[in-house]
């Protein structure tokens, strides 16, 4: 059971603070924030999501730079509390359309109202947007998404975020459109986060796809929905080790290692024809999470070379080749590479006629950064950098630099070939034809090439 719940801004201010059981002293938010901020003297390490100070257990998750915190004195299930915190953040987002410090501050009374129903005396009652709708009476004050600043300083809290921004719409599930009536629509996003590690010789050491089919429904009257996936989809890789690539390549089937489903999903005919049926609750939720280690073609190949070029000098060449069809374009690509500690200067040379590219040498942490606005499928881009060192390097340069890591987003492309074949909405009348959006996107999770 939970004793307190609060949300702190990144400066440590309480945005909401709710005490459910009165077992933990009021100063807990302060104690918590200090502990998180000064976890290790050198500030290098992040505080773990759960820790204990003087018999009080603190749980926290970071969402868009905000800290969602729960405290308790009891030995509870950590997954339950962390899941709950994440879920509270999601419900708030469903209501407010946009989750940010600003929107939360503007709507804190609504959030209090919601928290009253989500938890009673420390016990979780419900986290369903659907159910909460009938108990929450405040109208959300919607923050205009377009006016939202890019995360800015909040980004420092965004380390390792796996949630993707901006895929689903930034529209509240309860607020009415300015025009009056609600638009009937449903969004199905197939989001795949891929992790690939290339060895220095370009061989794939590990690869994994973590996928989610995410749904956000604005349909009135909760009609039933049928979602059909690839017929050749199979789950669980019977026998053999998971990394036995040869066994699966070429067969063309999509083989998931494992998957799980949202509560509302019924799997009655899943074994037969790979369809999921569900009555989607309001708000955003994952219909299905899946994991795949089957071999796939990595969207980018990275080549990197670092070699000495005279005394106290070296040259770096990074080549990125897009190995997806030319009608697909990746965007917001960032390439990073740690350089030797004794690098003092780096001058860059882009290919002639390069547009929308930017380069930077981060003096403080000795990192090379290369940003590209977009990369069209099939194209190749090269960056050359000349480095100046402050001291003679004795050891092998490749041991002092790298690995190269890359982040990107590729809309309308998914590497697993998992597909939503059709999205059927149980009809209310022949004229009922809501908007259906099925969108695919591939993102880099950990995309690394060793040198």
């Amino acid at each position: 059971m939970i004793s307190q719940f609060f949300v702190l801004s990144q400066r440590g201010d309480n945005i909401v603070f709710r005490d459910y059981r009165g077992e933990v002293a009021k100063g807990s938010a302060e104690i918590f924030f200090r502990k998180v901020k000064f976890w290790k003297e050198d500030g290098q390490e992040e505080a773990p999501p759960v820790f204990n100070v003087d018999g009080v257990n603190y749980f926290h998750v970071k969402v868009v730079g905000l800290l969602f915190v729960a405290t308790t004195r009891v030995n509870v299930s950590p997954s339950l509390v962390l899941e709950l915190l994440q879920r509270i953040a999601r419900v708030i987002k469903d209501y407010l359309g946009v989750l940010s410090e600003d929107s939360l501050r503007k709507n804190f009374v609504l959030v209090y109202e919601m928290l009253d129903e989500v938890i009673d005396f420390g016990y979780v009652q419900t986290t369903s947007t659907e159910v909460l709708k009938s108990y929450v009476f405040n109208e959300p004050i919607v923050v205009d998404a377009a006016r939202l600043q890019p995360l800015g300083p909040a980004a420092i809290f965004m380390q390792g975020t796996k949630r993707m921004p901006g895929t689903a719409v930034t529209k509240s599930v309860v607020a009415n459109e300015p025009g009056g009536r609600k638009r009937e629509e449903i969004f199905v996003d197939i989001i795949e986060k891929i992790s690939v590690t290339f060895s220095s010789s370009g061989y794939i050491l590990t690869s994994e796809i973590d996928g989610t089919i995410q749904m956000k429904s604005y349909l009135s009257g909760n009609p039933e929905i049928r979602l059909a996936l690839n017929e050749d989809l199979s789950i669980g890789r019977g026998g053999g080790t998971i990394y036995d690539y040869r066994s699966s390549s070429g067969s063309g089937a999509v083989i998931l290692d494992d998957c799980n489903f949202h509560e509302s999903v019924r799997l009655d005919s899943f074994d037969m024809d790979r369809t999921l049926s569900l009555v989607p609750p309001d708000g955003e939720f994952p219909v299905m999470n899946y994991r795949m280690t089957q071999e796939f073609k990595p969207p980018f190949r990275i080549n990197c070379l670092i070699e000495e070029a005279g005394q106290l000098k070296a040259e770096v060449i990074i080549k990125v080749r897009a190995e997806f069809p030319s009608n697909i374009t990746a965007n917001t690509i960032a390439v990073q590479m740690p350089l030797p500690k004794y690098t003092t200067r780096a001058s860059f040379e882009l290919e002639p006629g390069a547009v929308g590219q930017r380069t930077d040498f981060k003096e403080a942490n000795k990192k090379l950064e290369w940003g590209l606005k977009k990369i069209v499928g099939g194209s190749e881009h090269t960056l050359r950098a000349k480095l100046t060192f402050s001291q003679e390097s004795h050891a092998n340069l490749t041991k002092e630099a790298g690995p190269v890591s890359m982040t990107f987003t590729i809309p309308m492309y998914n590497v697993s070939r998992l597909q939503v074949k059709y999205l059927q909405i149980a009809k209310k009348s022949s004229s009922y034809n809501p908007y259906r959006w099925v969108r695919y996107v591939t993102q880099a999770n950990s995309y690394v090439a060793r040198i």
């Binding site: 309480n14 299930s77 796996k162 489903f261």
Partner: protein, 841 residues
């Protein structure tokens, strides 16, 4: 409510510091209180919002209590809610004013809108004012009978709140039995779930004084009730499912078909997207199959994929919680996960708390087939920009090397680390090479060549420097310039800040002196002089001790300071298996994340509502906890390089005795007694010190190393066992859960025994010939696990044994539980003698 620290910080313009704003609000609220002008609710909303926002940031607005209550006469539900929130927050510090609110809350409890009834009831119960409880009973009573499930749901929690304000009022009103009725008959599952939560808390608290409550609490884990919940589990919301599953873990099924029924019923819960449900289900599976070794292994296989999916599908925080559990499982059954090692590779953008866990898992799953790849991967991390992780990675390589797999290749890698010219890499690698040499002295030649090239000036970290000095002393005969390097270190004695390093330097000088006296003598003299003058007590004492023992007799000194060493076979584990088991029993709780059993970090009253099954254990643990902390500290200090492993293992042994659900038994008390007399004799006979091996034992024991009185001659035990003992598995399982561990010890297995274990069945037959019967067994080389039982001749007193045999170390970890604790030592002797004869007869 004390004004929190926010106001101590420099006030930002948006956060007024208090006073004048509050009095301003007061004025405005007063004006609105009586007003019936149109739009007044909107202005009230704005004002209330302001009040709540001040409350949130920690400004004390309790002085507005009267005005807030006056303004609360409204039909606007949003206003009402804000007012309730305010009242709930400040009623406790304003008990007199709180009385003002009772009236309108009670009226709202009778409102025709169920929403208002529920809200009012919730607020009424949240006032937390003791002298107002009389006003709660009536509304609660009708709330529990309300036709609307929302009101009932709120009322049930209200009963629990009442119980916490005034237990007697709650019991006198007979609310628990009303809740029990609701729990068994209400159609709304959330009402049922709330009843369950409330009753667990109430009955657990009452159980110590009321037999009835204790019976009721037991009834919660009775078969009919558990089945009642399990059959409806899908109707509960996901959070309530967790509650139910937690209860099911406490249930002991009567036979294996029941176990399979429950598992089949819950199978699909493993596919739930909510990690909390999955972990709760896994806990049920693991607990149910605890004594069915084979099925237990299958459970591991089954839960692997869902766990890995949870790791990668959630936020990093959720991954961390799941990974911690995976880590626990990996440590228990490394072979199950050894082919999945690539899942534990670190991703560059993961937070360090995740990376650390993964590194530990990689060391745990390393075996003959994957070591090469794992070590290659770890070496990549050693050059990582994240220095703490780089260090951990090097340590991980070392740990794997000490596990004996493919040492050749690893030693090469470690030596490469030494040449990497990054100071932290060198430092970590030195410590590792030192440990490695203690285990594999045969590698000294290769290592020393490389270590000799490292200039002591480039090594600054105390641990690394100590390791380097140890190697210089230990291998001074092979390292050409060892005496001179040591000499230069002695010359800079005053600049050496770490006492640990100075201690090592003294010992290394001694060792070097015994091997190369002419080159070392003068430096040794300087070292001893500096040591005796040292302000640090330990350094001073050691120097003085060396000095005196040298004066007494050089050859005795050599025997004391530098005796021939045996290679260390297994480094002591940092955690006793008892504690690990305890953590495993608390699967799906914070214990797993903290890697500590709950008694180490929670107060007694917060152990959670359903801990009664463990109470027996807790009783003895209460005392044991005091022992555990200091022994752990010993363990910490004990990283002293000079301790040989045999000593370390004994430390561990003594800790086991201290921390394990310590049931005093004859064996241990006699050993304590014996060593005490030895100490006395040592004290009364000071001249003996240094000569008599007996006395030196006594001194060791004084240091807390706890050498057990060796059972040199096993007296024939008087205990007689029933040759035809019988016990069915479920009784065994139940007893195993209920009984505390009477004894736990490590027994060596003869080489013949190890050889004979290629067919584990042989052991079963052998033990049976000694009237010790096997009830379950499993495992793969090198780890085998057996559960045995035996019964006293002509008595129904049972002995239960868990025996884990590791064939590579030829050791058996034995845990004994007994109905009759007094005879457990006798039984243990019998068991040991039976096991030791295995393979020889």
């Amino acid at each position: 409510m004390a004004p929190p620290a926010q106001s101590q910080r420099s006030p930002s313009p948006s956060q007024p510091s208090g006073k004048s704003e509050v009095s301003d609000l007061k004025l405005q609220l007063r004006q609105l209180a009586g007003s019936r002008a149109p739009g007044v609710d909107d202005s009230k909303r704005e004002l209330f919002k302001k009040v709540i926002s001040y409350m949130t940031i920690g400004i004390d607005v309790s002085s507005l209590f009267g005005e807030m209550v006056m303004c609360s006469a409204t039909s606007d539900i949003v206003l009402k809610k804000m007012c309730y929130l305010y009242v709930g927050n400040y009623a406790k510090v304003n008990p007199d004013l709180a009385l003002l609110t009772i009236n309108f809350l009670q009226r709202d409890c009778r409102d025709e809108d169920p929403m208002i009834r529920g809200l009012a009831l919730r607020s009424l119960c949240s006032l937390r004012v003791a002298n107002l409880v009389e006003y709660l009973v009536g509304p609660l009573g009708s709330g529990l009978k309300d036709s609307n499930s929302y009101v009932r749901m709120v009322a049930v929690m209200g009963v629990l709140k009442l119980y916490h304000i005034s237990a007697s009022t709650c019991i006198d009103a007979d609310f628990p039995s009303i809740l029990k009725h609701l729990m068994l008959h209400d159609s709304d599952t959330q009402v049922v779930a709330n009843c369950l939560s409330a009753l667990q808390e109430i009955w657990s608290a009452e159980a110590s004084t009321s037999e009835e409550a204790s019976r009721e609490r037991e009834a919660l884990i009775s078969k009919p009730f558990i089945y009642y919940l399990l059959n409806r589990i899908k109707e509960f919301c996901e959070w309530a499912q967790c509650l139910v599953l937690e209860l099911v873990t406490k249930y002991v099924p009567s036979d294996s078909s029941e176990i399979f029924d429950i598992m089949n019923l819950l199978e699909d819960r493993l596919q739930h997207a909510n990690g909390a449900v999955v972990l709760a289900t896994i806990r049920v599976f693991l607990q149910l199959t605890l004594s069915m070794t084979d099925v237990h292994q299958q459970v591991y296989e089954r839960i692997k994929a869902p766990l890995l999916t949870l790791v990668s599908s959630g936020s990093p925080e959720q991954s961390y919680a799941v990974l911690s559990h995976l880590h626990l499982l990996v440590m228990r059954a490394p072979y199950v996960f050894s082919s999945d090692y690539k899942h534990f590779y670190c991703q560059y953008n993961e937070p360090s708390y995740v990376k650390r866990l993964k590194l530990e898992m990689l060391t745990a799953v390393a075996n003959e087939s994957n070591t090469y790849e794992i070590v290659t991967e770890l070496c990549e991390y050693a050059a990582n920009v994240d220095i703490p992780i780089a260090r951990e990675s090097i340590r991980a390589v070392g740990k794997i090397a000490l596990q004996q797999y493919d040492v050749n290749a690893i030693v090469d890698r470690l030596l490469q680390f030494l040449e990497m010219e990054k100071d932290y890499v060198t430092a970590e690698a030195l410590v590792l090479v030192k440990d490695l040499l203690r285990k594999y002295p045969q590698w000294s030649h290769d290592c020393i060549a490389v270590v000799g090239n490292i200039s002591s000036k480039n090594v600054q970290e105390p641990k690394a420097k100590a390791a380097l000095i140890w190697m210089l002393g230990e291998y001074s005969q092979d390292m050409q310039d060892a005496p001179y390097v040591l000499e230069s270190l002695v010359e800079n004695w005053d600049e050496e800040h770490s006492a640990e390093v100075r201690l090592h330097l003294l010992t290394a000088m001694m060792k070097c002196f015994f091997k190369r006296p002419p080159e070392t003598q003068s430096a040794l003299g300087a070292a001893l002089a500096a040591g005796i003058a040292d302000f640090h007590q330990d350094v001073h004492d050691r120097a003085l001790f060396y000095y005196r023992i040298l004066r007494y007799n050089v050859s005795v000194a050599e025997r004391v300071v530098n005796p021939p060493k045996q290679a260390v076979s297994v480094f002591a584990d940092t955690q006793s298996s008892e504690i690990k088991d305890r953590i495993f029993d608390e699967f799906n709780s914070l214990s797993v994340l903290y890697q500590k059993p709950s008694y180490m970090f929670t107060d007694k009253e917060h152990r959670g509502p359903l801990e009664f099954a463990d109470e027996l254990g807790n009783l003895s643990i209460g005392e044991a906890a005091n022992n555990v902390v200091p022994t752990q500290m010993v363990e910490e200090n004990d990283k002293d390089l000079l301790l040989t492993t045999s000593e370390k293992e004994e430390t561990k042994g003594s800790r086991n005795n201290g921390s394990a659900y310590s049931v005093p038994y004859d064996g241990s008390s006699t050993s304590v007694f014996a060593s005490q007399t030895q100490i006395e004799s040592a004290v009364s006979n000071p001249t003996l010190a240094g000569h008599s091996p007996q006395a030196s034992f006594a001194i060791d024991d004084l240091l807390g190393l706890g050498i057990p009185a060796a059972p040199a001659v096993l007296s024939p035990p008087q205990l007689k066992l029933n040759t035809k003992a019988a016990l069915d598995p479920s009784t065994f399982q139940q007893k195993w859960r209920q009984l505390p561990v009477a004894l736990s010890q490590e027994i060596s297995v003869s080489p013949q025994g190890v050889a004979a274990l290629t067919a584990p069945q042989a052991l079963l037959r052998h033990m049976q010939s000694h009237s010790i019967h096997c009830i379950a067994s499993g495992g793969q080389s090198p780890n085998f696990k057996f559960f045995f039982f035996a019964q006293k001749f002509e008595e129904s007193s049972n002995y239960l044994v868990e025996c884990v045999i590791n064939t590579s170390s030829a050791k058996a970890q034995v845990k004994i539980k007994a109905d009759d604790q007094n005879t457990s030592q006798d039984f243990s002797t019998l068991f040991e003698s039976a096991l030791s004869k295995f393979g020889t007869s």
